[in-house]
Subunit: 339 residues, 2 copies
DNA sequence: ACGGCGACGTTATACGTAAAACCCCGGCAT
DNA sequence: ATGCCGGGGTTTTACGTATAACGTCGCCGT
């Protein structure tokens, strides 16, 4: 390390202001009403400013025993959803003088190796978004308050939970399609085995069951455009009556579906309707614009941080459930007359 | 704050292992060869494990005077490019026992208000990616080592720089289009005024100047699909000969262009060629897949972190220039015969 | 005239860790 | 026998901050 001119400490400030270190601490900590004269406080602030003093956070954290820092663990950063969750969490955090540090679990869904070594900051709590249950073992072991976002309600160890009403989202898209007259549905699911898969499948089956002649088939693919394209191409060239609507568990999968359909010469939505999930920016980038389910990602982050703050305050927050909402765009229409 | 059962300290470990705190520190810090017997070391490790001991990072940081933590400042998180920069930086950091904390400058290009208050971790250095020059003032004031990525080479205060050869990227796309026979080019630039604008415009002009009958016109739009669509629609309905190729300064702008062209009934690439920049996932999501310029984002992050480590080591790293590469896909073709 | 109190500070201490400095003891060369 | 060395620890200190505990001084009420 270079010999920087050694950052000034509160003692340096004290010396140049002609007061004791304790006084500096009081003034800069805004705890001086009636204990330090206006004039002295001014001197201290001037000295601090002149020296370019910045308190040493490590020392402060050590002294206070709290770091006012939370760790947000996410499976991937390239995904817009998590970026938005972060934004929401960071905003609420800032309002309370907290900071948020990010830890993108490298394996995605694999066990987080050691978040605490990587995010070197000392932490007050952890928020985990959309993480696989097992991936959180390392975190649970650290007995830090853990808030779980968008995760299996059965997963143990959460001090608080914020969940999206995914099932209702599926019900909404399915209802929308059934309402348009579709009866043969294809469900394109993500192949990463997770609790959310069952939730979706069940919700879908539940809605379909209520309509006499409606049927649904499920295929799955890795959450990736290429894989989705292949899966859809394969499913649609199979013998038997062709589905008239395609329910995708994510906008990325829907994008892959678009590609497959174009190859097969099927027009969206004239020949076949397609729905997505998540309402990423992608949804309006592709053509036709995608009917999908919008998620209040920022809100998830906000509620998650709020819950963590509540836990840190010694109270027990209620589980939060956030609604999702269907966004109808141009990729859905009644089935073609022939079908 | 709840009364957690008080995290065990190294002294607790020492007590249950029957040794002194110093010994614990030596063993757990892996500095005990020849100073502590194998047997005692074992006892210490067992005790630490049994108690679930985790060192207090705040204390360690205070003692060592270094936090092994860097701050990465980015203008936006939803942008895939920055997510990739982060990934690269974090990877190199991890190899050296460093962590990376993210600070998405809230205003995007506005002055970062107080990154250090927000990212509460104590920091060893700062890496700023694609930030406007003025936005870094607050950071420069803190006299922490600052590495600037993808930024104005003229901007002061950088201890190290990593830049992309943007100009060459523009030269490559332009050359590609001219090679296909295009002579009337439209350049869609981002309207956020920044150093990069001039670099691009100049590079473009330079290439065009060498081809006798080639002309280029520039229009700009906010970096957003809707705005880009409007700008392109407006530019192409203007009187005069229509350009046969559209050079967009980003894939997002290109996506807007696609929408405009579809509205105008122009086919890509048969009627008009389009190129992007950045090679986001978006580029292969839209149809036809976009010819664009790929940026080694992870490499930018890696080199940035490497440079920071070099600076922290007291040495002066050379400025790094990273090449970019044209990715030819389906959105470019020779101009239509009529033109 | 004296206790007391409010205004204004100061002194002292603790947070948990890393590491420099020290200590003890058994064996070995002189 | 004595000095020395090295293995195996321990004692002590410092990092920079926040704050509890403690002074001091001037003035006021009785």
């Amino acid at each position: 390390m270079t010999e920087q001119p050694a950052r000034p400490t509160s003692r340096d400030v004290a010396r140049t202001a002609g007061v004791s270190q304790a006084t500096v601490s009081l003034v800069l900590g805004d705890k001086w009403r009636g204990r330090v004269s206006e004039r002295t406080a001014g001197l201290v602030r001037d000295a601090a400013h002149a020296l370019g003093y910045r308190p040493n956070l490590a020392a402060r954290n050590l002294r206070l025993g709290t770091t006012r820092t939370a760790l947000l663990v996410v499976p991937a950063l390239t995904n817009e959803f998590f970026a938005r969750v972060y934004t929401g969490a960071a905003e609420v955090a800032a309002e309370h003088g907290f900071g948020v540090v990010l830890y993108p679990s490298p394996a995605g869904v694999g066990p987080a190796r050691d978040p605490f070594a990587s995010a070197r900051a000392a932490l007050d709590g952890v928020i985990a978004s959309s993480m696989a249950t097992e991936a959180l073992d390392a975190i649970r072991g650290a007995d830090l308050p853990l808030v779980m976002l968008d995760s299996d309600p059965e997963a143990p160890g959460a001090a608080a939970r914020v969940n999206l009403d995914i099932a209702d989202g599926i019900r909404q898209v399915t209802g929308h399609l059934l309402g348009l007259g579709h009866r043969r549905l294809l469900h394109l699911a993500s192949s990463v085995a997770s609790w959310t898969f069952e939730v979706r499948a069940e919700a879908l089956a539940g809605v379909v069951r209520e309509v006499p002649d409606a049927v649904v088939r499920t295929v799955s693919a890795r959450l990736e455009v290429g894989a989705a394209r292949e899966a859809v191409e394969h499913a649609l060239t199979a013998p038997g009556p062709r589905p008239t609507a395609l329910i995708c568990d994510g906008d990325i999968l829907a994008t892959g579906a678009y590609k497959a359909l174009r190859r097969l010469g099927l027009r969206v939505p004239e020949d076949i309707s397609v729905t997505g999930f998540d309402d990423l920016a992608l949804a309006t980038a592709i053509e036709p614009e995608l009917t999908t389910v919008g998620l209040p990602a920022e809100r998830v982050g906000e509620q998650g941080m709020t819950a963590l703050l509540t836990v840190l305050d010694g109270r027990r927050p209620e589980p939060v459930h956030l609604p999702v909402s269907l966004v109808v765009r141009a990729s859905t229409a009644p089935p073609p007359p022939g079908a």
